[in-house]
């Protein structure tokens, strides 16, 4: 069941296109990874979906309706920004109390567990919290809101590796008990690769990839071996990365490898290395950037 439907959404700022004819949909009860570089358009897309920003053209429908000034729809969404502004002098407890007023599914007991887990100092004013503690406030609001659609926009900046793992663990555990749609934007792709069911890659305001994580993983492979043999094998395939070390070439290609392919590779004494999700996304975006630089009419 589709809960978010974006059709030909464009957002123009003076002469830059933050979003360029974006069409994508998000389903109920799924964890999505919204991946892309800084400035790729992730935050813009999420802002428009939550009516905090407005598209220039095209449409964005949440639960089938326009989210703008729509309390019925908005009360079922939570968007925790990367740099969320809080009422200056407020204490974290104030922020959580306010959140409890507006999110119908707010779970105070869960929030308190998370507060303990993240060791959040409740008596310190929000403006005096460290970057990590500030992120923890956002994460706690996002998780405890149990909103049917929850966006996390790089909310764990400032959290150390231990705290991040805590976030992932709590997220998964709560998602198992209370399935909902979660859209997680991140740079740390490999860290979240196992959490996300579907990957949406956005670059330069355009959707580069929109697929199941497992399908994406098997979509590329790195062929390593003697340069001539590698080049022969990859003719006709879409190459997204190439490296050379002496006579050894390492080429990343898109496309599934059939059984025949694998036999051919073995026969030519070429190695196949898997491509991690992070590598794939990085290579894809670099590839797209090169295409754009060459004036590729994409």
């Amino acid at each position: 069941m589709t809960v978010i439907e974006v059709q030909h959404l464009t957002k123009r700022y003076k002469d830059t296109l933050a979003l360029d004819d974006v069409s994508v949909s998000f389903e109920k009860d799924t964890i999505y990874g919204l991946l892309g570089r800084n400035g790729a358009g992730k935050t813009t897309l999420m802002s428009i979906l939550t009516a905090q920003n407005f598209g220039t053209s095209g449409s964005a429908r949440v639960f089938g309706e326009d989210p703008y000034e729509n309390a019925r729809v908005l009360s079922r969404i939570c968007f925790v920004r990367e740099s969320q502004r809080y009422p200056e002098d407020a204490l974290p407890t104030h922020a959580f109390r306010m959140a409890s007023l507006f999110f119908p599914n707010w779970d105070q007991a869960f929030a308190e567990e998370l507060i303990a887990d993240f060791e959040l100092p409740l008596k310190t004013r929000i403006k005096k919290l460290s970057r990590g503690q500030l992120s923890a406030v956002g994460v706690i609001i996002g998780l405890a809101s149990r909103a049917e659609i929850t966006f996390f926009d790089e909310p764990y900046l400032g959290l150390d590796a231990v705290a991040r793992q805590l976030f992932y663990d709590r997220l998964l555990a709560d998602y198992a008990e209370h399935p909902r749609t979660i859209i997680l934007s991140s740079h740390l792709i490999d860290e979240v690769a196992n959490l996300i069911e579907r990957v949406v890659v956005i670059d330069g305001g355009r959707i580069l990839l929109d697929d199941e994580t497992d399908a994406v993983r098997s979509r590329a492979a790195t062929i390593v071996g003697d340069q001539a043999a590698v080049d022969l094998f990859v003719t006709g395939r879409e190459v997204i990365h190439r490296e050379n070390l002496g006579r050894v070439a390492s080429v990343t290609v898109l496309g599934d490898l059939t059984a025949d392919d694998r036999a051919a590779l073995q026969a030519s004494d070429l190695d196949v290395a898997p491509v991690s999700l992070q590598q794939l996304v990085v290579r894809l975006t670099q590839h797209a950037a090169r295409g754009a630089a060459k004036g590729d009419p994409r």
Binding site: D169, L172, A176, N194, L195, E197, D214, S218, P274
Partner: protein, 140 residues
């Protein structure tokens, strides 16, 4: 534990199969639930579910309504049979290939295997040795 090579759900299914094969999960035992697997491997529950469903389709796990997921009777036997079939292609062939690259003949290989498995020099009755011994001798 989890590698990049094959789809996650396949790896999850295989790890459950491994537990059945090595005996830690016996026939008719309760299998780990989707959520338990997801939490343990730190993966999305839907991925874990896919792996579990794959095993259900294969007949290794069986769903008992209202109670949960259980190891199907005869699952271990079925898995052993399946794995023995691919054993040759999966383990022996790479062994032969590597041996050839190093200049070792098949006879050299047999000697090496015997040494490691601590089996004395040939008494010509392959049927007398229990089928599981050579497997136990091999390093996994």
């Amino acid at each position: 534990m989890i590698d990049e090579g094959r789809p996650l759900f396949v790896q999850i299914a295989e790890s459950v199969e491994d537990s059945i094969v090595d005996g830690s999960l016996g026939d008719d035992d309760r299998a780990p639930s989707t959520n338990e697997l997801a939490a343990f491997y730190r993966i999305n529950p839907a991925t874990a579910a896919k792996g579990v469903n794959m095993l259900v389709d294969k007949g290794i796990l069986v769903k008992r309504r209202g109670i949960g997921m259980f190891v199907a009777p005869g699952a271990r036997a079925a898995l052993l049979a399946e794995r023995r079939e691919v054993f040759g292609a999966r383990f022996v062939q790479p062994l032969l290939d590597e041996a050839r690259a190093l200049g070792l003949s098949p006879e050299d290989l047999v000697t090496l295997v015997r040494e490691r498995a601590d089996v004395p020099a040939p008494a010509p009755s392959p049927a007398s040795a229990p089928a599981t011994t050579p497997m136990e001798g091999l390093e996994r």
